[in-house]
Subunit: 201 residues, 2 copies
């Protein structure tokens, strides 16, 4: 049994990840609500405080990253930066800071999203930062100390979120959260590293 | 003959690009030195001023993007952000702002770099932002108005820069600037869009 910090535990993606973490001790974290620890991944002090408070842990599973959606012609610098500082730098900082706290042979599992390989309108900032995170994971895996691994789950839309996003995504087939949970499980319990785990139908 | 704004004209990559732009009217730009216009791509006002001063243009060719190099374990938040705001957001802003100024049927050509697909030590920020730019170009091409095209040249190290970078890049084969110039030429003079033009040996 591993101690796993699950960030975004109350969201739909967090619940999906949780289905793959049943055999572990899961410490929940998120921006608000009924979680073990409050954390804002856009704030490095908040990330440090989370790791300090948890103490020993073997894995970090992140399921959050806020994105702004707009046509490229209308997307402002501020909308770009909000997305970059959350979905991209927020996740990079989880790893950058976390590498000093995580146990030997630990693992980080980040989240991206299918829109970097299946583009749709309004999603350019999501797609660009997902591309950044997929690339980051593939390259940084070679630098992780103490046998620490890192992967990223790149899912399509969840069945559980289809009512919200379905209209934006014609021709996409949603996948159930439990299938996405399997990808998180493969990352946390496997020996793979530097992998982009696509979950698509 | 097209009017092409070449950013970073005095650098090694700018000189490489220039070899592919011989048939065009090239307006040179850069941070300093003997160029037609001074521009800092990390400053949106500077980008706007460049486009305003040039007036009519058919193509933007960017060959700059500053990156910090360090092991991931040592790379600071500030080093990450310097790289993100230049190589990634600087280039995105060149397109975001430039789409309002560029002529119908115009083209943008950005620069990334081979280290996102051939990772080496010290280059995680370069690789991550190159991955972001490659993804950005592939996805944003569908959103460009008025038949405007966008591509990115993703070169390996230049023969002309091998004396500087060769020691960092064991097992890499440099390519001559004139071959990289061909990729810029294919982007500016072709009909392709949304392409990552790898130039590797």
């Amino acid at each position: 049994m591993k101690t796993v910090i699950l960030i975004g535990a109350l969201g739909k993606m967090g619940k999906a990840a949780l289905t793959g973490l049943a055999k572990h001790k899961v410490i929940t974290a998120g921006r608000s609500g009924d979680v073990d620890h409050i954390v804002d991944i856009t704030n490095v002090d908040s990330i440090k405080a989370l790791y300090e408070k948890v103490g020993h842990f073997d894995a970090v599973v992140n399921t959050v990253g806020y994105c702004e959606y707009a046509p490229f012609t209308e997307m402002s610098e501020a909308q770009w930066m909000t997305t970059v500082m959350s979905k991209m730098m927020g996740q990079i900082n989880l790893v950058r800071i976390g590498q000093d706290y995580i146990a030997d042979n630990g693992s980080f599992t980040l989240i991206s999203g299918i829109l970097n390989v299946k583009p749709i309108p309004y999603a350019i900032a999501d797609a660009t930062t997902s591309g950044a995170i997929d690339t980051f994971v593939k390259c940084v895996a070679y630098e992780m100390p103490r046998n620490i691994r890192i992967n990223v789950v790149n899912p399509t839309v969840l069945t559980e979120a289809w009512d919200v996003y379905g209209d934006m995504m014609p021709g996409f087939e949603p996948v159930p959260g439990r299938l996405v949970g399997k990808a998180f499980e493969r990352s946390v319990d496997g020996f793979i590293t530097g992998q982009v785990l696509f979950v698509d139908a």
